[in-house]
């Protein structure tokens, strides 16, 4: 029901309702301003409004030397993890649809296991397990990437499975009827259509992946959050200002990637290259007319 708007919950305001709405609007604005004032006053009381804490963000060298290296680490962890997680997800997702129980069952177990346990537990396990079991020195970067690949690869596997199942049965039936083999049906008929349908869900999941790189902070990965919560405060003693600025950077990146997902979804909805309807990300909350950004839970 994409045309559905929520303003059917109330009548079009008449003169009295308009007057009441104006009064209520004023009340809300006053309360909001009071709340904002209380917060700002509290910040002022703790000397958090001192210009010395905020001006570092106007200096180019602070961005270049302290923030951008963290940003690059965050982006490269996200990029490397995405590049591995997407094929990993395809292998697992297609594996779960296999006719052979020997492939289907292990793929299912892997997907369900890594989806059910928290990512942080995985990252800790890779860090400590790598050295204890295999005698390897695992860098925080590697631990974050491996954790992200295992978790997001499993989520992507579910997206892939849903995407392939979203292709109408007639497509594969027709393909078998003209004599294609199983592998050919998957490669030539199902996957090309499924990919178009699952593209938006994959990009949404990659936003989640990007957000989750911040977990690296807990294992001392020198990412963007590390720049905001450790590096900058140790230089300028400005934890609150720098965490706020870093949050803005994260929000901008996620909104941009989220907007790409929305654009892809519109494109695939009107695409005639596929018979499948777009797949929703697992756990996604779909509301008509939502703004771009993260839609999946977690």
């Amino acid at each position: 029901m994409s045309t559905r708007s929520t303003d059917i919950l109330y009548d079009a305001p008449g003169p009295r309702a308009r007057a009441r709405n104006t009064v209520l609007t004023v009340v809300v604005v006053v309360v909001a301003l009071l709340a904002a004032y209380t917060m700002v006053a509290k910040l002022g009381e703790k000397n958090q409004l001192d210009p010395a804490l905020w001006t570092p963000f106007l200096r180019g060298d602070v961005w270049i030397n302290l923030i951008v290296p963290g940003l690059l680490n965050t982006l490269s962890a996200a990029l490397v993890a995405s590049l591995i997680a997407v094929p990993f997800g395809f292998v697992l997702g297609i594996g779960r649809l296999s006719d052979h129980a020997l492939i289907r069952v292990p793929a299912g177990v892997v997907v369900e296991f890594f989806r059910a346990i928290p990512l942080l537990i995985m990252i800790f396990a890779v860090m400590y397990g790598g050295s204890a079991v295999f005698g390897l020195t695992v860098t925080p970067f590697a631990a974050v990437v491996v954790g992200l690949v295992l978790y997001n690869g499993s989520v992507l596997a579910e997206i892939v499975r849903a995407g392939i199942q979203a292709v109408p049965r007639g497509q594969s039936e027709a393909a078998y009827a003209v004599g294609l083999r199983k592998g050919q049906v998957m490669r030539m008929i199902l996957l090309p259509q499924a990919v178009t349908a699952m593209m938006p869900a994959i990009v949404s999941q990659l936003v989640v992946l990007l957000k989750d790189t911040a977990l690296g902070f807990i294992v001392s990965f020198e990412d963007l959050l590390n720049a905001g919560a450790r590096v900058l405060p140790s230089n300028f003693n400005n934890l609150i200002p720098s965490v706020i600025v870093i949050a803005v950077v994260y929000i901008i990146i996620n909104l941009v990637v989220g907007a790409v997902a929305t654009w892809l979804e519109r494109r695939s909805r009107r695409s005639r290259k596929t018979t499948a309807t777009p797949v929703e990300p697992p756990g996604a909350i779909v509301v008509a007319g939502t703004t771009p950004g993260v839609s999946a839970v977690d």
Partner: protein, 222 residues
């Protein structure tokens, strides 16, 4: 394996803290999320704007950042204090972070639920003269909430897993305890990991089943 048995009480305690974190943040997020959803469908553009801004900011910020802001920003810099005990204080601060973050997702789930209520319901309510808040409270929200039991279940499962991030500010829930045990028992990393993984499976799988059952039982028959 022996390490796992020896440390069993410690592990149980850690998971008990995880459960308490989940329940406390879940309850707070449900209340805050419902209020936010009501704001986002209200007739006042200001309220809608505040709700939208809140949801978009919190949803697009990494949870780790939210928790670090609550723990270090609110706790250390602004001296927000709930308890004289340092660990209890960080526990409450992490609950604030978890519920503030989760509320954004609860709000979106409830809003999607409002969209599943047939238009005729709200129109009939208006026809008999109910105001916006009566319409929402008596007609739309009860049906909307019953429609989103399953999504709220997935949010609760995600929250259970997300409580591990409270480790960032030193709350000794399951993940931080696992890390401590890894350090103490370097020879038993694998059994300890599977012990904790099993713990999370025990928490999340029944939650999923329960909410699937509930969502069927509570579904509005149309």
């Amino acid at each position: 394996m022996q390490a796992l048995l020896d440390e069993f009480p410690v592990i149980l305690n850690a998971f008990w803290l995880t459960i308490r974190l989940t329940l406390a943040s879940g309850a707070a997020a449900l209340v805050l999320g419902t209020i936010l959803a009501a704001m986002r469908v209200s007739p006042l553009p200001v309220l809608r704007g505040i709700g939208t801004a809140y949801v978009n900011i919190l949803r697009n910020t990494p949870l780790t950042l939210v928790i670090v802001f609550c723990g270090l920003g609110l706790g250390l810099v602004l001296d927000v204090s709930f308890s004289t005990s340092l660990s209890t204080n960080y526990l409450w601060l992490s609950i604030i972070g978890l519920s503030a973050y989760t509320a954004a997702f609860v709000c979106e789930a409830i809003r999607s639920g409002i969209n599943t209520v047939p238009v005729g319901q709200a129109e009939a309510a208006r026809a008999i003269g109910l105001t916006f808040s009566q319409n929402l409270r008596l007609i739309v929200l009860p049906q909307a909430l019953r429609a989103v039991v399953a999504p709220l279940g997935s949010i609760l499962i995600a929250l259970t897993k997300n409580t591990t991030i409270a480790a960032a500010i030193g709350v000794t829930e399951a993940s931080l305890t696992m890390k401590t045990l890894f350090e103490a028992h370097g020879d038993a990393v694998v059994p300890i990991f599977f012990g904790f993984a099993l713990g999370f499976l025990v928490l999340t799988l029944p939650t999923g089943l329960l909410f699937t059952w509930l969502s069927r039982r509570l579904a509005v028959v149309r």
